[in-house]
Structures are given as C-alpha cells and as structure tokens.
C-alpha cells in the first residue's frame, strides 16, 4: 500500500472520468469530450482531489450539479457521479426520458440496490434509451480524503452523523441504525478503495463498538461471497505484497472531550480553529484598501476571498503542522528566496537589454552561457509566479490568523491549557484569566473552563464552581455546555474502565508539554515537545501490542477468520506497520497533527486518521450546548445483549 489513500481515490476518480478505462499516458492523444454530472456528495469528494483545470485536461467540458437545470447537449457522453438516493434516481430517470445526452455512464458513489437499478431500467426502457446507458458502476468512493493520510466521511448532511446526533438522549433505535449504517457504508467503501481487510479493535460499550460489529459483519459477508468479493483480484495486488494487514482502531469521541476544545498552536489546526476552513478551502474577509472616503465614514468594503490549500502547495505541505511562529519565519524566508530569484531574472533581463547597446564590457560573457541562463529563467518564470501566488496566499492567511491570536490572546490560552492538561503548576489563577476583559472571546473562556473542569482530578467545590460560573456569566458565556460536560464527567467516573482518567498512576491526559522560552527578535517564542494525546496513546498501545489496562479490554475483530469471536485476545503478536484510526463522533486537526508527529517519530509506520466529521471548538460547543435539551434523561431501558446498540450516554445509568 505504497500509494496513499488520497492517491488511490484520485486514481479511481480519474479512471472513472476516462470511461472506466485506464487513462493513457500519451499526452498527444485525441481529445474526447464529456460532461460530468454530480450531486453535492460527489462534489465534496471531487473538489479536494481534482482542480477544475485537471478536469478540463481530462476532457470534461461542463461540470454540473445533478439537481440543476440542464440543457440537452446531444452527442456528448455524460458521466454521472451520484449517490443512489431516491431523488437522484428520479432525476436520472427524468434525464433519460428527456434525452439530454448521447450516452450515459452512471457511477454510484456507494453500492446501489437492486430495486433502484430496476427503476432506472424501467425508465430507460420507457424512453427507449437502454442502449444509451453504456455503463453502470459502483464506485465505492463514499468518503472524502482531505490529506494523504486523513479522511472524513461526508460533508453534506453531516448533522445526521454528528456528535450531537449520536449522543443525544432522545435518540431512537431506528435513527441510531441509520447513523450506523451510513458510517459503516463509508468505512466499507474506504477499505475497498484501500484494498485491504483490516483487523479491527474497538473499546467496549459505546458507539464505536456498534460500528465495529457492523463493519466486521459487512466485511465478512463480502469476503464470503467469493464471486463478487471486492477484495480479490487486481486491487489486492499491492496489498498482498505487504504481509501485514493494517490495524483499524475505532475510538469514540467521548473518550476525550478536552482535545476538541483545546486552543492550538500549529498552523493547520489554527486555521481550522480561527478561520472558516472546509474541505481544504479557507474563506476569509479581506478588507479592500484604505481609501479615505471624502464624504463621511463609509465602512471599508470587505471582500470574501477563498483560498485552496492543496497538496501541490509545497509550503503548505511542509508547514501545516509547524507551530505558528515557525510558519511566520518560513514565510519570510520564502519571500526572501523569491525576491532573490526575481532579482536574478531582472538582472538577466537587463543584461539582455544591454547587450544590444554596448558590446564592450559584455563581450566577456559568452553567448551560449547567456542563452542557457535565459532559457532557464524563462522556463522558471511560471514557477516563480506560482511561488509568488502561494507566498501571498500564506501571508494573507497567516496575517489573518495572527490578528485573531493577538486580539484574543490565544497564546495565553494555549499555554494555560497545556499546563492544565499536563498538571503542571499554574501561574495565574483561572479566575484571573476568565475575568480578564481583553483576553479572548467568551467562547475562548468557556473552552478554557471546560478543559479545566475535564482535567481536574477532583471536581471543584460548589462554592468555587459558583464563583467561576458567576465570572463566566459576567463575561457573557453560555453555560449550557457546562451541564453536559458535568454529566459526562460524572458518567465517565462511574462507568469508566479503570484506566480512563485519574485513578491509575498513568498520566490522565494528554499533552504534557515542556515549555521553553526563546527570545528572538523581541518576541517570546515558546518551544515545546509533544507527548501523546489519548487517541495517540491508545493507538500506540494497540499497534505495538503493549499491554495496558486501558486497551486490554478492547474487542478484537478479524473479518477474515471463519468464526467471529467475542474474545479480545489478538491472534497476532507482531506490532503492526499500518494503522487507521477512526473517531466516531467527530475529530479535529489537533488529533491529526498529534498522530502525524507520532508517526514521524517512528519510521516505517503509517497511520491514517479518519473521523465522521470535522469540527472546531466553536462548532463542538454549539453541538454540546445546543438547544435540544441535552439534559438528564429518564432511565434508559436495560439492553439484554450487547449486540443491540447501546451508546455511551453520560447520564444514563448503567444497569449491570
């Protein structure tokens, strides 16, 4: 599995766009034009992977949304890339009846059911267009890859599988089933694209376990069906050379609620936290110019600009995990190198210009040398321009982030939270920071307090709590999320397997940080060394087969084994080389970055990170403190056997 999942997905997409044959390498091949029709799911999948220019290069002349008004364009083949939902199928049938295109290549993002296929068949028959439907494919691409080693499940309708949806108290069985099905379908597609059957480990007693059970069942069914198994044949070719199967660790968001609230310091995570960042696209307001208007005060016009942070952007790839001060310096360095190259080109230009006028002093420069330099300068011009564009982009983005940091004093929060999470001594009291009027928005203070609450070994006394609450209310915070966290903490204390927090000698949470102060250019930079977040720790234990009370109780599933077993003893004693971590209930870039750092320290290991959705702290607080009452719920019916779905509510009593 040398190719990353992103490359595999992109390759699959390109193949699909080439009428499901391998794309030829020949650059001077005849152009074949086609039209691409997608729905919003397809759009979200394609947009991080292929830019519009790449689509054009592959011959796509038009790309349109399925549910938009589309005019008939005869004698053009159309490639559809949609989810097999009712409305999409209806629209496709309508297209067939209206004879919009010459031939139809239908690609369904996940597997289509037989009945829906028959619907399309009957529509095709009635429109006498059966011959026009040239190919029908199940693409199994129902997930969005954002980075080489990170994926999320979906962007549209993500409320349906959000943390809130999974953990709300009044959830019904049917809803839970639907959510689990969606998640398992996407995960199944992910493994089909990856081309490997993993070994699944999951904790007991929460949503993650349900997902694991269902996924195991699905994989097993597919493997049994020898004729149609998706895991044999060519796509296993690469996988078979790696003698090991990957490890798939399912984690539940409820394992660690402090990390989504944490203020962060690395570039990518900061952008996600502070700016509007979705599907690798940043949108921010840019105030245009500072023309003083002659007539009175007119507010500066704000343009919304959006930038794509792609895999081709080398600066981004190198620095997306770096701490922010490093990023600022690197941008400066890049700018300097760019200026040097620009000067070189200018110098050449002037030499070329001079040569016509004055032969004398230039005669020492040989002609061939100049032409070589000139050709290299000319060919490097587009590169230079691209570099300039990227530098501008990053300068803008970094400046915006810096503004936020300065106005909200995010570095103070970061430090303080680090100390909280690593149990070092606190220099300032929490109350001071909360009552400090110009340090951060009310949301920031809420986050800080919640982290304090979560990481405290003993919950604060009532009087303390009231004091804090008063201070928070004064600054305008919304306390609804606090109730939820209280209940969650209470529950994890009661039902926690002993290794969760606090009681064992193991450090309870996360990021213990050694903070050094570096004074450089009159600014204090903090240099720190990471240790592992809970998710990373669990992964480490499972991957290295370390024995740890926290993870020993995890269930073990191997879809390739003939009989499923309830045991949690792994058959395989060797450490794994590849792992995929999936957080049910939502993830964020901080965890991702932590995993990347962990992987960097262990050469030869590859870790992929996935989550059902990506949220930043603000969104998480909204979900947790949201209006649908996340309050105490009446007693949940005791469930008889564990296969029936039993998510981990913080407030429901466990009946043993």
């Amino acid at each position: 599995m040398a190719a990353s999942v992103r490359e595999k997905q992109a390759a699959a997409l390109k193949r699909m766009l080439n009428f499901n044959t391998s794309p030829l390498k020949n650059t001077a091949a005849e152009p074949v034009w086609k039209v691409l029709i997608y729905d919003r799911f397809g759009q979200d999948i394609i947009s991080p992977l292929l830019a519009v220019k790449e689509l054009r290069d592959m011959g796509i002349t038009l790309h349109l949304l399925l549910h938009s008004d589309r005019d008939p364009i005869p004698d053009v083949p159309a490639i559809y890339f949609v989810m097999p939902t009712e409305e999409n199928i209806d629209r496709i049938c309508q297209d067939l009846r209206n004879q919009l295109y010459e031939s139809y290549y239908l690609n369904f993002i996940s597997a289509i059911s037989r009945s829906k296929l028959e619907d399309i068949a009957s529509a095709a028959l009635s429109a006498n267009a059966v011959t026009q439907v040239t190919k029908v494919f199940d693409q199994y691409l129902n997930f969005i890859t954002l980075e080489d080693d990170m994926f999320i499940l979906c962007n549209q309708n993500k409320e349906l599988i959000s943390y809130h949806a999974i953990n709300k108290p009044d959830i019904m069985d049917t809803e839970m089933e639907a959510i689990m099905d969606t998640i398992v379908d996407s995960l199944f597609c992910f493994f089909v694209t990856l081309g490997a059957v993993p070994i699944i480990r999951c904790p007991r007693g929460n949503a993650a376990e349900m997902v694991a059970v269902k996924l195991d069942k699905k994989l097993r069914e597919n493997l049994r069906d020898a004729r149609n198994s998706l895991f044999t044949g060519d796509n296993m070719g690469a996988g078979q050379f790696s003698f090991q199967r990957p490890l798939f660790v399912l984690a539940d968001r409820n394992l660690d609620l402090a990390t989504p609230l944490h203020h962060t310091w690395t570039y990518q995570a900061l952008i996600h936290d502070v700016l509007d960042f979705h599907l690798n696209r940043v949108s921010m307001d840019e105030s245009v110019g500072s023309e003083a208007s002659p007539s009175g005060a007119r507010p500066k016009k704000k343009n919304k600009k959006s930038y794509d942070l792609t895999a081709a952007d080398k600066f981004w790839q190198k620095h997306k995990g770096s701490p922010f001060p490093e990023v600022a310096e690197s941008v400066q360095e890049e700018l300097d190198t760019y200026r040097a190259q620009e000067d070189e080109v200018k110098r050449l230009k002037s030499i070329m210009g001079l040569e016509g006028e004055d032969e004398g002093p230039i005669s020492s420069i040989s002609m061939s040398d100049n032409t070589a330099k000139l050709t290299s300068a000319v060919s490097s011009l587009p590169e230079l321009l691209e570099k300039k564009r990227l530098i501008d982009l990053h300068t803008n983005v970094a400046t915006a982030v810096l503004d936020h940091i300065k106005s909200r004093k995010l570095d103070v929060y970061f430090e303080y939270e680090e100390k909280l999470m690593s149990k070092s001594t606190l220099e300032k009291s929490l109350l001071d920071i909360i009552s400090d009027p110009d340090a951060g928005t009310p949301e920031d203070k809420m986050r800080l307090f919640l982290i304090f609450y979560i990481t405290a070994l003993q919950p604060p006394s009532e009087t303390d709590l009231d004091q804090y609450k008063k201070a928070l209310l004064e600054t305008g915070c919304d306390l609804s999320s606090l109730n939820y966290i209280k209940q969650w903490k209470a529950f994890t204390k009661i039902a926690a397997t002993p290794s969760n927090y606090g009681n064992s000698g193991v450090k309870p949470m996360g990021q213990s940080v050694v903070i050094n102060y570096l004074v450089r250019k009159n600014r204090v930079f903090k240099v720190f060394f990471f240790q592992n977040l809970p998710v990373t720790r669990i992964l480490d234990n499972l991957m290295e087969m370390k024995s740890n009370p926290e993870t020993d109780d995890y269930r073990y599933f191997d879809p390739k084994m003939l009989r499923g077993s309830e045991s949690s003893t792994p058959r395989n004693k060797n450490p794994f080389q590849e792992a995929i971590v999936f957080v049910v209930g939502g993830g964020n870039y901080i965890e991702y970055q932590n995993l990347v750092d962990y992987t960097k320290a262990k050469p030869g290991k590859r870790v992929l990170y996935g989550c059902s959705e990506l949220f930043n702290a603000g969104q998480f607080i909204k979900q947790v403190g949201g209006p649908p009452a996340l309050g105490v719920r009446p007693k949940w019916q005791p469930i008889t056997h564990i296969v029936h779905y039993y998510p981990m509510w913080p407030w429901s009593k466990v009946v043993h």
């Binding site: 001077a28 152009p31 034009w33 011959g59 364009i73 068949a121 028959l125 040239t134 081309g195």
Partner: protein, 256 residues
C-alpha cells in the same frame, strides 16, 4: 475499486421487460419520435470531429516520417530511407499549411458557435470542446516543432561539421605554405649573399667602364681634331703647292 454492474443493469432491463410484458404494459413509442431523434445540432460536433480527425492525420503523418526526417546523416541508413533536404522542407511547409488551416477551422467553428447561441450551457460546452481541440493541435504542433528543432539542430551540426572540416583543411594548407615560405626565405638569404658579392665586382667593372668610356670619348675627340687637323693640313699643303706652282710660273715668266 469500482465494480462494473452493467451486466446487472442489463439483467434488470430484461427483468423489467418480462415483467412489463406479463403485466401487459406496452411502451408505445410513437413513430415520429424516432425521427425526432435526429439531432438538430449535429453540425457542430460533426465538424469538430472532422477537425480532430484531420489533426490526427497530421500527427500520424508526422510520426510516420519522423524516423526518416530525424535520421539526417546516420551512417547506416541506406539511400532509400534517407530524405533529402528538399523533402524535409516540403514536409515542413505542408505541415505548416495544414496547421494553419486547422487553426482557422477552429476559429471559424468558434465564431459559428458564438453566433448560433442556443443556451449558456451548450455555449460553454462548445467553448470547452474548442479549447480541447486547440490544446490537441498545440500538442501536435509541439511534436512538429520538436522534430523541426532536431532537424535544425542537425542542420547546424552538419554545418558545424562542414566548417570544422574546412577549417582543418585550411589549417593543413596553411602549414604547407608555411613550410614553403620558410624554404623560400632560406634560399633568398643565399641569393642575397651572392648578390652582395657580385655587387663589388660590378662596381669595379662599372668604374672601368666609366673610365673606358671617357677614354674613348677623348679618343674620339682627338681623332676628330686629328681629322680636322688633317683636313687643314691638307688644305695648307694644297695651297703651298699651288703657291709654289704659281711662283714657279711667275719665275718662269720673269725669266723670259
């Protein structure tokens, strides 16, 4: 990996057909619909496909002759496969004309497409199609220009070779000439020596000759004088004789 369920789809079509037959549902396809199917906008895509096929022909032609074209001066090529420069120029010209016609055809198509505006989507589609064709043409032109660059490089190389051989010939000649000149200078030295030796002798001869000339001149003068004297002398002798005779005669008379 993608799973091809086209067969499944076709099976579903069969199922639906049989089901419809069983249920007595008949899909009545009005006859005129079949004729309506002939699309009104055939023109554009046909023309576009024509342009593409032309460009492909050009590409095939270029690729076909590429080996011969580029093989300008390989030692093992037989005379049959080698192309003369004329042929190459011909190919160049033809290719250029062809490319120009193609790009004009594209432009024409574009303006036509602009005029016959039907809907924005179709317009966009056609624009993109034309862009694709143009890119294809550019790719083929690149092939051609690469070939040409190689050829030009070859021509220059050949010229280089020629110049080098010419220069080396010249160098040889120059060396020969140098040798000869050296010999000539040596000989000339010897001559100069001899000539110098002869100079003194010639000088003395010259002197003698000058003296002789003087003498001869004087001699001539003397002879002239002598002749003159001789002539005068003769006159005086005659006079004397005549006088003597007269005197004799006188004396003779006197005495008588």
């Amino acid at each position: 990996m993608a799973v091809d369920i086209t067969l499944l789809f076709k099976a579903s079509v069969k199922t639906v057909k049989t089901r419809n037959k069983a249920m007595g549902v008949v899909f009545d396809l009005p006859k005129d619909e079949i004729f309506k199917k002939s699309r009104p906008n055939n023109g554009f895509s046909l023309k576009a496909k024509e342009v593409i096929s032309n460009i492909t022909k050009l590409k095939d032609f270029l690729l076909q002759h590429r080996k011969d074209y580029v093989n300008a001066g390989s030692l093992i090529s037989s005379d049959l496969t080698r192309m003369t420069d004329n042929e190459r120029d011909q190919i160049d010209q033809d290719a250029q004309i062809f490319m120009r016609t193609c790009s004009e055809a594209i432009k024409q198509l574009r303006s036509e497409a602009e005029k016959r505006v039907i809907s924005t989507q179709i317009k966009e589609h056609r624009g993109a199609v034309l862009d694709l064709i143009e890119m294809y043409l550019k790719g083929v032109c690149k092939l051609y220009s690469e070939q040409r660059a190689i050829r030009v490089k070859r021509v220059f190389e050949q010229e280089n070779q020629r110049l080098v051989s010419e220069m080396s010939n010249l160098v040889d000649e120059v060396r020969q000439i140098e040798g000869k000149v050296v010999e000539i200078s040596r000989l000339q030295e010897i001559f100069a020596e001899k000539v110098l030796m002869q100079e003194t002798e010639i000088d003395s001869i010259h002197q003698l000759v000058v003296g002789a000339t003087e003498n001869v001149k004087e001699g001539n003068e003397d002879i002239r004088e002598a002749i003159q004297n001789n002539a005068g002398f003769r006159v005086w002798i005659l006079f004397f004789l005549v006088m003597c005779s007269f005197s004799l005669l006188f004396l003779d008379w006197y005495d008588s």
